[in-house]
């Protein structure tokens, strides 16, 4: 059975499903319930996170398992690491991924390294949910897309869904995975609707999803950029080119095979990544393809990313900041040496 629900609701469902299934799953973060210890407040009216994504969870599972924290990211993310190592399976919410600045040590030097440093004798079944992405005029400290940093760090698994269906299945996989996972939610996708399966289902890590089939061009697109890529693909189709849109879904592990197979078929690759352009997932995927699939390539690999600057507040600038279908078309026109693709 499936139904049509929002991205936000899909995440909410994954959390309750996991919490029903396993008592060790707890939800922890700033105002994940909201209003702890407020007398008159009924739990069903609680905030459920600053964007309301976890609304209703405290109602079902109580405040022992839905834990509001002080504004102390190092404190509660660090605590979640050892809560995981000592028997719980926490879902910790790092409200905006930009706040990693307050708790990188706990993620990078503790959570990600325990298993290895301890010779395999520790496990850290921790999922960190976090919001990212520009487009809401949230300005430079609330709009970043920092998954490249986490992809750089060994010991973390990095998940970034583009649809409600994927969000639910990947979040359930994350929660029941025995390693620390960072789960990225694009805040501008929360209201997006899509078909989602009922009950418990998982989507394996390291398996890309081909969101559209094509033979003339491969577009690897990350998170929300999948939709930008699909728009570009539709426009290209009108011009007689069939683009294949590959959604890696997890950046660590990365499904190299699916990407390489697609490029082997199309000979051309454009990567769309909303992140800053240097040392990002786009460069990572490009370098991988050049290393392992050089002979498949008929043209340079193009990367459509943000410019090398912080996210501007002004909506007029932010619009220019983000990758667009037009930028994808222009890149394709360039590698095809065919300007009519953009002019016609």
């Amino acid at each position: 059975m499936t139904k049509i629900i929002t991205f936000s609701k899909a995440i909410n469902e994954a959390i309750s499903t996991a919490m029903y299934k396993d008592d060790d799953v707890v939800l922890i973060g700033i105002d994940v319930a909201g209003g702890a210890e407020v007398d008159h407040l009924q739990d069903q009216e609680a905030w459920g996170g600053v964007m309301g994504v976890t609304q209703g969870i405290v109602d079902k599972f109580g405040r022992d398992r839905v834990i509001d924290t002080p504004i102390a990211e190092a404190g509660f993310i660090g605590a979640s690491v050892t809560a995981a190592a000592t028997g719980l399976r926490p879902i910790a919410e790092l409200m905006f991924n930009d706040f990693i600045g307050s708790c990188l040590d706990e993620v990078m030097n503790q959570g990600a390294k325990l298993r290895y440093m301890f010779g395999g004798k520790a496990k850290v079944p921790l999922t960190i949910r976090t919001m990212h992405g520009a487009g809401y005029s949230a300005a430079a400290q609330h709009s970043q897309s920092l998954y490249s940093i986490f992809t750089h760090i060994p010991g973390l698994k990095v998940v970034i869904p583009s649809t409600p269906y994927d969000a639910k299945g990947l979040l359930l996989t994350s929660i029941f995975d025995d390693d620390p996972v960072i789960f990225f939610e694009d805040k501008t996708l929360y209201t997006m609707k899509g078909e989602v399966g009922d009950g418990f289902y998982t989507i394996p890590f390291g398996k890309a999803d081909i969101k559209r089939k094509g033979k003339d061009l491969t577009i690897v697109a990350i998170g929300k950029m999948v939709h930008t890529a699909l728009k570009a693909a539709n426009q290209l189709a009108k011009k007689g080119f069939e683009a294949e849109v590959v959604d890696p879904r997890t950046l660590s592990p990365l499904d190299e095979e699916t990407i390489l197979d697609s490029v082997a078929k199309t000979g051309r690759l454009i990567i769309v990544d909303e992140a800053y352009p240097r040392c990002n997932a786009a460069t990572d995927i490009s370098a991988m393809v050049v290393d392992k699939g050089f002979d498949y390539l008929d043209a340079p690999i193009k990367m459509i990313t943000a410019p090398h600057s912080p996210v501007p507040f002004s909506p007029s600038l932010e619009k220019l900041y983000l990758p667009t279908p037009e930028k994808i078309l222009a890149a394709f026109a360039e590698i095809m040496g065919d300007n009519s693709i953009v002019t016609k």
């Binding site: 105002d31 005029s137 400290q141 007029s316 220019l320």
Partner: protein, 331 residues
């Protein structure tokens, strides 16, 4: 208003009127932003300072442009009290190139270094070390400038609180840490999130003075801040000043505030309003005539009308601004 004789003596009518005006500017600014945000005309996240005016104004009344402040996500009040231009602020919130940050910062990042306003801050707790840095410059350069760090009760539990106050204390820096305890960090109460009874109680762990004042009472803030700023200027080190206050609006615009009690709201927003109380005080003490105060009100209203028009009508930043000012020079 329970205020000591010394203040009554030193507080000139001019200063009092300046403070009244600043409080009104803040209130009017926030109510204006509230209204236009509700109409969907403003982009981004907005956090309003209405209700807490006495804190920013009481403290900043002792500062010059050479003194620095650091602020928070709820920064409009600090900006106005520190002398930022209303037109430039409003244009910034509209994302226009005439904004104080050329539209690139927005509500959460308004700054004006020339005025000593080192920026609102989107990161809770972000301002603590930044205030210490300004204090350090004053110490190394042997000036008598001071730095003020405004922060919320929620921020009081962030690690930077601890690191910064300890550093300011061991180096005896001219820094004033001003807690704006409005009872809530987002939807969490101060009592839930903080293990201390009063934020000021934590001062003892750093061997610095900690003081609590009624943050709704402008003169109480004014007086306590005067003492703390003087100590700082004289090289006697940092102070932790806790102001008990209340925010009239939600955490951000759009917040339904289910966590607040309606009686509590009524009392705080109506009976215990810092602006009403100060107006009443000025009138009864003869610091200003009602007409004068009405005139200030009118003038502030006009200033805000002007600011909104300025914000609305200003142009967007040029596309070239997108990648400008990331570096001094760097293609």
């Amino acid at each position: 208003m329970g205020t000591s004789k010394s203040i009554l003596a030193s507080l000139t009518s001019e200063k009092a009127k300046w403070m009244y005006r600043k409080m009104l500017e803040i209130r009017e600014f926030e109510e204006t932003v509230h209204d236009i945000f509700a109409k969907g005309e403003l982009p981004g996240f907005v956090h309003l300072y209405a209700g807490e005016e006495a804190v920013a104004v009481g403290v900043c009344s002792h500062l010059t442009d050479d003194d620095s402040i650091t602020s928070t996500h709820r920064g409009h009040g600090h900006c106005i009290a520190k002398g930022c231009d209303l037109d430039g602020m409003m244009a910034e919130i509209y994302g226009k190139v005439t904004g104080l940050c050329r539209g690139k910062g927005g509500s959460m990042h308004i700054a004006d270094i020339k005025k000593g306003m080192l920026g609102a801050n989107g990161i809770v707790g972000g301002g603590f070390p930044l205030a210490v840095g300004a204090g350090l410059t004053a110490k190394v350069k042997k000036t008598d400038h001071v730095a003020v760090c405004f922060f919320g009760d929620g921020a009081n539990n962030h690690g930077t609180f601890h690191e910064a106050i300890n550093m300011a204390a061991i180096w005896n820096l001219p820094v004033l840490f001003v807690a704006e305890n409005n009872g809530y960090g987002e939807a969490s109460t101060y009592e839930y999130a903080s293990s201390c009874t009063h934020i000021a109680d934590r001062a003892a762990g750093y061997n610095i003075p900690g003081e609590i004042v009624d943050g709704k009472d402008l003169l109480a803030v004014y007086e306590a801040a005067e003492r703390a700023v003087n100590r700082a200027r004289k090289g006697e080190g940092p102070t932790l000043l806790e102001c008990k206050t209340y925010r009239n609006y939600g955490h951000f615009e759009g917040d339904t505030q289910t966590y607040k009690d309606s009686e509590e709201r009524m009392e705080e927003e109506e009976q215990n309003d810092c602006i009403k109380k100060f107006r009443n005080y000025m009138e009864t003490q003869g610091l200003a005539k009602p007409e004068e105060l009405d005139e200030i009100e009118d003038s502030v209203k006009k200033a805000l009308e002007h600011a909104v028009k300025f914000g609305e009508e200003s142009p967007n930043p040029d596309p070239s601004e997108l990648t400008k000012d990331v570096y001094v020079s760097y293609e």
